[in-house]
Point group: C2
Chain length 131, copies 2
DNA sequence: TCTATTATAGACTAATAAAATCCACAATTG
DNA sequence: CAATTGTGGATTTTATTAGTCTATAATAGA
């Protein structure tokens, strides 16, 4: 059970945007260069972040990606959900329906994790990051 | 990000052992039948549980799997770790070492989840299960 | 209007991991 | 010795992740 590398890329890309370029647009080209990853692959993640409403995209020359207005509200969970989807990490495969006691325990644990990820905003990190 | 089906099988197998056969050995054959899954595949999970010291195996006729003495102590986390391994679900792939702030946040969240999984014992569930 | 720059979308390929099977072997009971 | 049971390794199948490639659309600036 592991978060995908795509999530890792997305979190780092968001931290870069928040810390280094909170208002001006940054191209995938530059972002990929800064992170040292493939730009074609990174662009997939950025498109997902756009669809999730976390960033804004501007086509054409001098375009790129820019944070949304509400950047103070963007949590780790928002970013992770944008990339990994929102389905639970545990789904009982037996046919005792939604009543599975095991599933209830694991999902309860998952909620605790999500609570932490939801309360932690990416901007907090940017402040630490810059000192 | 999803727990494997193997974990689902292992949790259900353990619940069965705790609830229905806390002292006598149960064969994979029977266990697989009760759960409605392939016995060859299920046996892989059971072997992992043995290696993790959660259950005990007895070869030969009338053999099978039996719980260890300390069954009151067996937590969800023990079972999950036995199957999924103990490596963290997030590993930063960039070369800023162990100092990655993003990784610290995600691992902190993971710890919260593990706390719940560790505090929840499989025997508790068995009691609920039986009413 | 033309060209360069940028994002988006979809098809496609490659690599890795999960799920499952098969078989040979070892241990134990009776 | 024969039947039953667990263990280990090799192998296959299927699904997911990671990544590439190409065509298309939007926009800025000459």
């Amino acid at each position: 059970m592991k978060y995908s590398q795509a999530t890792d890329y997305a979190l780092h890309a968001m931290l870069f945007l928040v810390a280094e370029a909170p208002d001006k647009p940054v191209s995938v080209h530059l972002l990929a260069e800064k992170l040292g990853v493939s730009q074609t692959y990174l662009s997939k993640m950025l498109t997902k972040l756009v669809k999730a409403g976390l960033i804004h995209s501007i086509s054409g020359a001098n375009g790129g990606y820019r944070l949304k207005r509400n950047q103070e509200d963007i949590s780790f969970l928002d970013i992770i959900h944008a990339i990994e989807g929102t389905t639970s990490m545990f789904e009982c495969s037996f046919n005792h329906g939604n009543e599975c006691l095991i599933q209830q325990v694991v999902i309860d644990a998952e909620r605790q994790m999500e609570q932490v990820l939801k309360s932690k905003k990416i901007t907090e990190l940017a402040k630490q990051f810059k000192g």
